[in-house]
């Protein structure tokens, strides 16, 4: 492919690391984790960071979880292979 790869970004907030009654739609004051995703033709990479709702800041050293799915082998995003990788380059790319 001679074109520059295109990327779509998305995000989702959570109140906690485990499912709660307000996990779907947390109020701003309750948001403690923010999951940022970067999606290309080839993969989706997501990192869940600590989030402070008082000043809208992320703690980049506070990674709660990660997800990596490769489109060709796993188009349905069912097999998270985050643990199989070192993430320095991907993390740098995301930010």
């Amino acid at each position: 492919n001679d074109r520059e790869p295109t990327i779509a970004f998305s995000q989702y907030p959570r109140p906690a690391d485990t499912p709660q009654l307000n996990s779907d739609k947390p109020d701003l004051k309750d948001i403690r984790v923010m999951g940022y995703s970067m999606r290309t033709d080839d993969y989706r990479y997501t990192l869940w960071f600590g989030f402070n709702p008082d000043n809208f800041t992320l703690n980049l050293d506070d990674i709660h979880a990660g997800e990596v799915y490769f489109v060709e082998d796993d188009p349905g995003e069912d097999h998270n292979v985050y643990e199989n990788f070192t993430h320095d380059k991907l993390t740098k790319k995301l930010f």
């Binding site: 779509a8 995000q11 499912p19 995703s37 999606r39 995003e77």
Partner: protein, 429 residues
Amino acid sequence: DREPQDGMNVLFIVVDDLRSALGCYGDALVKSPNIDQLASQSVVFQNAYAQQAVCAPSRVSFLTGRRPDTTRLYDFNSYWRVHAGNYSTLPQYFKENGYVTMSVGKVFHPGISSNHNDDYPYSWSIPPFHPSSEKYENTKTCRGKDGKLHANLVCPVDVSKVPEGTLPDIQSTEEGIRLLNLMKAKEKKFFLAVGYHKPHIPLRFPQEFLKLYPWENITLAPDPQVPKKLPSVAYNPWMDIREREDVKALNISFPYGPVPKHFQRRIRQSYFASISYLDAQVGRLLSALDDAGLSDNTIVVFTADHGWSLGEHGEWAKYSNFGVALRVPLMFYVPGLTTFFPYLGQRLFPYIDPFSHVSSPAPQEKPQEMVELVSLFSTLSELAGLRVPQTCPETSFHIALCTEGESIVQYFDTTKEEEDDDEDDYVDK
């Protein structure tokens, strides 16, 4: 000799919770002949994604051209103009450039996130229209097996027997048609946004649309289990469907379920039927565009605020970063650009009755680029011949007009080769 953008109107159709389950996206089960017909005249983006899979943040994002971190709206409880920055919106930009801008149905998410007035009068020339029957959406209007009325998730209805004898999207279509005819008479450039409510839950639709989806054709999601290595923070427990009466009665365990298989199939069947009901409304609206003689000078955009999980990963909602929750249909019909200008009297969008139509849509295959809804602002500005707002700097809370999404018109030319092949046919006509 006309340039595509000369004096173009805009018809902006946005659907609530519609994943790309449409014939034109290769879905063999779903009957969407009218949207497929629009797609056949449009550039259809195969990989379009929302910025956050929940209504208010997604809509405020694409209507302001800023990401949620800039609108600072992640929930439903603040108005960006006072909470983040006094950002211009897409319709406001058109209004300030001489367009009559109008909102029908759910365009902004209602409530405080749009200042309880759909951002009127900043964004709209006239007060936004909301269908009167919307107030019954979450009331007990679904006939149960016990013969009583319930507030169910799965809710096929006899339209003649519901309150007011109509449904919100039917009313929105009627208002959209009325406004198209009005604008035709006034001969003013317009930006008409029509926001449809379905297939958002409850899955409340005219019961005849169930006939399009025989029970034996309804399957489960290909991956209905919660993935083993999914971090718990990534999972959403789909609370809103648990609150419906029919789902409550199933006593599904929190947070991981699962929903009983027979009910999974019922949800899927009703979601698909809701899409076909929506398709019929879109068909009526586009047919009216033809009738008003506006098809040759109106850009039509069709998209959704985000997708919806239909049982994939054990989820039944949006509220996640999964592709099924974020991927949306996105297509642009631009007369003279995505297709030739219609010749005199040509009907581009005749209404197609889904009950008599044998569906065999040709799935579109390009463009394949990953694109984002945050690009809608700059893309529509470019298509309409307006100046494209400048790209926002890294911090832009103090800047009223800029965009965080680049125009995706640059990807439109991937269809040109095919158009050239059709040129001889066009000349013959």
